[in-house]
């Protein structure tokens, strides 16, 4: 019989979670809190509008982030766009907005103008939109290792933040990314939005063990499992994780527990796999309303501010809608010109015959 004596200790499953080091983040100022609220309102308004745009035929499809505003805005808010780099999925509208990305350029991907979006990834510090589930998490590890190789500019490393979902956590690439990052002590924040669903599959049938954060200890990676619908908790956790990474202590994983309130995308029909009751129970309190109540209760903001924020969000949305409307298709020649830095004779020939046959020149 195998007794306790026969088995060796398994280092990573001890009772203490792997500790996070680095200074605690200072509490958010009232200005920051109000800024966060404004961002969340603007994201909520833009996100719900995008669904309407799709119904109106302005854009062919969209993947809403309804319910994930706190997780997205809170984490994006913690990014230092002068040194960090963020790797989104296809659902990170709130992150992009919080980082100050040009939203017409961002939304262009949903207008089917250009995969990846028209924003400048280097300038905005946001990698192109990624449609492969789990596809860019390893990129974050490579980018972060590059920071280690270059060395910190002023004693503080640039940090890569990789977003992924509960569904993505099943992909082999996620495991490889966590193991590589931990072996190389790369400054990466793995930001998991556990929104309860991967299209029709609930997290219970996706994530064995019940938690993505619970996997981190096995790699010696510290993890924070947080209420992803509490924007303040999200900012704090993200800042703490960034501080840990910046100081050269290696990666951190954050699992933000949230809920995908809408359909997976505008082509999805959630009624086929979850009931309205289940939705209500799973979703819990609306993160935006919850934050509003908190600001009110703490006397940080009042109705006038909320009204102002909403008006600003509406104005912004209208401007973005106009921008999207004005967005024409990219010239077909870009298909050929943007494949390589140094094009090839075959591509030149194909571009020429395309011009002749499709543009009739």
């Amino acid at each position: 019989m195998v007794t306790a004596m026969d088995t060796l200790p398994t280092p990573a499953t001890g009772s203490e979670a792997v500790p996070l080091s680095g200074p605690a983040a200072p509490p958010l100022t009232d200005d920051e809190l109000r800024a966060l609220y404004s961002l969340m309102v603007s994201v909520r308004h833009l996100d719900t509008s995008a669904i309407a745009w799709q119904r109106q035929g302005l854009i062919p499809g969209y993947a809403p982030e309804l319910g994930q505003e706190a997780a997205q805005v809170g984490s994006g808010f913690a990014v230092d766009t002068s040194r960090d780099f963020v790797f989104p999925t296809y659902r990170e509208l709130g992150v992009a907005r919080a980082m100050g990305v040009d939203m017409v350029a961002y939304m262009s991907t949903h207008k089917a103008t250009w995969h990846g979006g028209l924003y400048d990834p280097l300038e905005s510090r946001l990698a192109p939109i990624q449609a492969v589930v789990g596809g860019s998490v390893l990129h974050a590890v490579g980018w972060a290792h590059g920071q280690t190789l270059t060395g910190p500019a002023d004693g503080r490393l640039g940090v890569a933040m990789a977003y992924f979902g509960d569904g993505a956590s099943s992909q082999g690439d996620i495991h490889e990314a966590m193991n590589f990052a931990a072996v190389m002590k790369a400054p990466v924040v793995f930001f998991v939005q556990n929104n309860g669903w991967a299209i029709s599959l609930p997290t219970e049938l996706q994530v064995a063990g019940g938690s993505v954060a619970g996997r981190a200890a096995g790699y010696g990676i510290p993890a924070l499992r947080i209420d992803g619908n509490d924007v303040v908790a999200v900012v704090d956790a993200t800042r703490r994780a960034f501080a840990h990474c910046r100081a050269g202590n290696g990666p951190v994983l954050i699992e933000a527990m949230t809920y995908r309130r809408g359909p997976h995308s505008t082509s999805d029909d959630p009624g086929r796999y979850r009931s309205l009751n289940e939705e209500r129970d799973g979703a819990g309190e609306d993160p935006l309303e919850r934050f509003r109540q908190r600001l009110l209760a703490d006397g940080v903001a009042g109705e006038a501010f909320f009204a102002e924020a909403l008006a600003a969000a509406k104005a912004e949305e209208e401007e973005i809608r106009a921008g999207i409307q004005a967005l024409g298709p990219r010239p077909g020649s870009e298909m050929f010109d943007l494949v390589f830095q140094e094009t090839t004779p075959a591509l030149r020939a194909q571009a020429a015959s395309w011009r002749e046959e499709s543009e009739h020149v």
């Binding site: 062919p60 499809g61 296809y90 991907t109 207008k111 089917a112 103008t113 250009w114 995969h115 990846g116 449609a131 492969v132 589930v133 569904g167 993505a168 099943s170 992909q171 082999g172 690439d173 991967a198 299209i199 029709s200 599959l201 219970e204 049938l205 996706q206 994530v207 082509s267 999805d268 086929r272 796999y273 298709p329 990219r330 077909g332 870009e334 298909m335 050929f336 494949v339 090839t344 075959a346 591509l347 194909q350 395309w354 046959e357 499709s358």
Partner: protein
Amino acid sequence: MSDVLLESEPSMDNRSPRHGVEQLSMQQALNLALDEVLAENSKALIFGEDCGRLGGVFRVTDGLRAKYGNGRVFDTPLAESGILGMAVGLAMAGFHPIPEVQFDGFAYPAINQIVCQIARMNYRSRGILPMPITLRVPSFGGIRAPEHHGESLEALFAHVPGLKVASPSNPHEAYHLLKYAATRPDPVIFMEPKSRYWQKGEVHFDSADATSPPDGSSPGGGSPTGAKVMREGRHLTLVAWGAMVARCLQVAGLAAEDGIDIEVLDLRWLKPIDEAALEASVRKTRRAVVVHEAPLTSGLGAEVAQLITRSCFDTLKAPVERVTGFDVPYPSGDLEDEYIPNIDRILFGIQRVLEYRRG
């Protein structure tokens, strides 16, 4: 976690094969074929991302979980290599897996399992561990979808020894090809043209060989693994598969108005390729254009062209033309009509062949 198997009670109302003719969409025809395969073979299993409760993002497996239970039709975690690797083990245990990869572009994470395992296990085990796996892959472009949702992987699959590859062009073909593929002892990659899922057409249940749409032009084909003449013609052969067959039939209709009589050959099986059908058609027409959505270079069109050239060299009036996607990543919706061979480009290709004069 509750028992994985008994989440829903299988219904006893198994469907028996149909007779006669029905008007169905390709999605319905595929669903019907899967239903019959599950009913006829208790070892057949369907699994993949969202194929269970949701019935697949294209609803091809709609209703099957409710009917056959969660043991026969089930959702997996989101990992394509996992899905295909699991299929290998199930096949080794005597099952007939019919896994799904949700979109063409998400077959790449599973390529290692497909190429190194599924395609080789029969060989490696000297025939003792066959791999009767039918991998359904919604394929090709044309639906203005996000990145990686419009890929054509047939050249990759056709190059892999140990795989067979089929692609239906209409509901009739979809029903018969899938039923045939899913009852064979070898692995078949089954590429469903997603832009055609909702197009209706007649399905003739009693004869796999009935040409559909049955315009009376030709019975065509014969073998269930062969190509099929979808329209007879004398002046030039258009070779295509998947969604491009309908487009070629359209082109042939237009060309007929100018007195050009085009034969349209639906390849159906992309591996093995029906060389005899290619030869028979082009020996007659003496000219050929092959059309596909995949990029030009090293695409399956090269293989088709070379097979034709080799067997018909002395009768060919012009080199075989290829009208294909370009050597560029599949573009976003706004540009996809520029990318996919359109009627104009196919007509230009035909014209080049017809006007070819030895230099």
